[in-house]
């Protein structure tokens, strides 16, 4: 079964540094998402992306965050200047459609640790 793949599985960075989290969505999916889960908290929506632009974003997704689909397969999340509170598990997801009954398929996540 096709999978969403994320790299790296674990990223450690110093506060103030830029990080790029990478994702390869399922090939025939058109909608892409980032979610995050701070340790001990619920999984939260960050952003959705379709047709090379952001379709929706949460209040968490401030100017420090950006997303990009640099080529036909990768989908990236960039954090420009990391803060301690950005430490979390970041999940990429994709879906075929944007309708509520089109399930999201998640990757295994990237654990980001900001020191």
């Amino acid at each position: 079964e096709p999978e969403v793949t994320q790299t790296p599985s674990h990223q450690v960075t110093q506060m103030g540094q830029e990080v790029i989290l990478r994702c390869v969505p399922i090939s025939n999916h058109l909608y892409f998402y980032w979610y995050r889960q701070i340790l001990g908290q619920k999984v939260e929506f960050l952003v959705s992306f379709y047709n090379n632009e952001i379709s929706e974003k949460s209040e968490i997704f401030d100017d420090q965050f950006s997303v990009e689909r640099p080529d036909g397969s990768n989908f990236t999340l960039k954090i420009r200047s990391t803060k301690l509170e950005d430490s979390a598990m970041y999940f990429c997801a994709s879906s075929q459609e944007r309708k509520g009954n089109s399930p999201l398929h998640f990757g295994n996540g990237t654990r980001l640790t900001v020191t």
Binding site: Q6, V43, F45, G109
Partner: protein
């Protein structure tokens, strides 16, 4: 405000025992309903989903869930738990008639005793 509640943070069951994980939602209309499982070091895997029709839905790994509109609930069940079911379980919803942005519950951590 729309919300999803999983009242049990931790549940411990013996292997072979039955399991029920609770999920309640608060929405203006019945949303689409999902259960995801997160095994240690793994991503979120879709267990099952409810959109409409038969209120008892079957999923993977022997799980099922029952939608009860009167109680705004979508509880997950399994008749006989295996040690490999130890994981965190998340109930999630998306609004009908809108996009598929998921709202998750806080999760229930399942421990299975041998």
């Amino acid at each position: 405000a729309q919300s999803v509640t999983q009242p049990d943070i931790h549940i411990t069951v013996s292997e072979g025992a039955s399991l029920e994980l609770r999920c309640n939602y608060s929405y203006g209309a019945t949303p689409y309903l999902f259960w995801y499982v997160q095994s240690p070091g793994q991503g979120l895997q879709l267990l099952l989903k409810y959109f409409s029709g038969d209120t008892l839905v079957q999923g993977i790994k022997g799980f099922e869930a029952e939608f009860k509109r009167s109680q705004s609930s979508f509880n997950l069940r399994k008749p006989s738990v295996h040690w490999s079911d130890a994981a965190e379980y998340f109930c999630a919803v998306t609004p009908t008639g809108g996009g598929n942005k998921l709202t998750f519950g806080t999760g229930t951590q399942l421990k299975v005793e041998l």
